[in-house]
Amino acid sequence: MPVLARWIEAAGIPTVVVTMMPAVAEERRAPRIIGVEFPFGHAFGMPGDKVMQRRVLELALRVLAGATAFGTRVDVDIEWPVPLREAYRAWQPKEASPIVRKLLTTWGRA
């Protein structure tokens, strides 16, 4: 996704990436980054929590429209309101994805 942001930015449309892995977006050289410490699949927050979603969206808009330099990163100061172990299990698919299955098989053989 950071690479897609780069291509769109290079074509003349400013971009911001809202991501659970801002350190990776930095390494992949995204132009503007919002970091969220949320489980995968939840870039804008908890389902049904409009206040949380709005805080993230507003910050994304502020950084999109107001950042003055490449690589600007701002992290959202919101703690995920579900205990880590529960949230860690909850976001994952019921069945491992095909690439994960393949990796686990490869690692199992190594």
Binding site: I13, T15, V18, M20, G41, A65, I99
Partner: protein, 168 residues
């Protein structure tokens, strides 16, 4: 507060992401200044949650991904900004889709953006937003040749002044 980028990632997968650096050819800064006022700008959203309209759009090709884990469907769907949660489905093999089905705003906050347009914080939203399927680092060349330029063309058609991308 600095976000822990690996908090929810299984520990064994961290080396797949951490310290890998930029993709070849993607090292240099790219930058387009955002020159307008936000209140005079049109904003578009893009999600990689694999959302699509179940009545009128084909699903993403998860079957082929099941058979070929290295492959990911590079196509995209246009999601009208007024689409109802009840009309959406999710094609994504890499996450539990219950939360995003119950409230697609967590991936594509189109209604929230419309509210900010009504409040005149944002000038306007594009009439259609973009949905793709995530976890596609493995098939970048197809994306660069086809999907990327198509997305740029649709964003230009819709006169988007800025894009918010959210990986799932």
């Amino acid at each position: 507060m600095i976000v822990d980028s690996y908090k929810f990632l299984p520990r064994s997968f961290r080396p797949l992401y951490e310290g890998r650096g930029p993709f070849p050819g993607e090292e240099a800064p790219v930058w387009t200044p955002f020159e307008k006022r936000l209140a005079a700008s049109r904003i578009a959203l893009l999600t990689s949650a694999g959302l699509y309209l179940k009545a009128s759009q084909p699903s993403f090709d998860v079957e082929r991904e099941q058979n070929n884990p290295e492959w990911g469907d590079p196509s995209w769907r246009s999601i009208p900004s007024g689409a109802d949660a009840a009309d959406m489905a999710v094609a994504h093999l890499h996450m539990n889709d219950e939360d995003v089905l119950s409230d697609p705003e967590i991936a594509l906050p189109a209604r929230l953006l419309d509210e900010m347009v009504a409040e005149r914080v944002v000038g306007s939203a594009t009439s259609e937003h973009i949905s793709v399927m995530g976890y596609q680092d493995r098939s970048l060349p197809g994306w660069q040749k086809e999907t990327g330029p198509e997305l740029v063309a649709t964003l230009r058609d819709q006169q988007a002044d800025g894009l918010i991308l959210a990986p799932a």
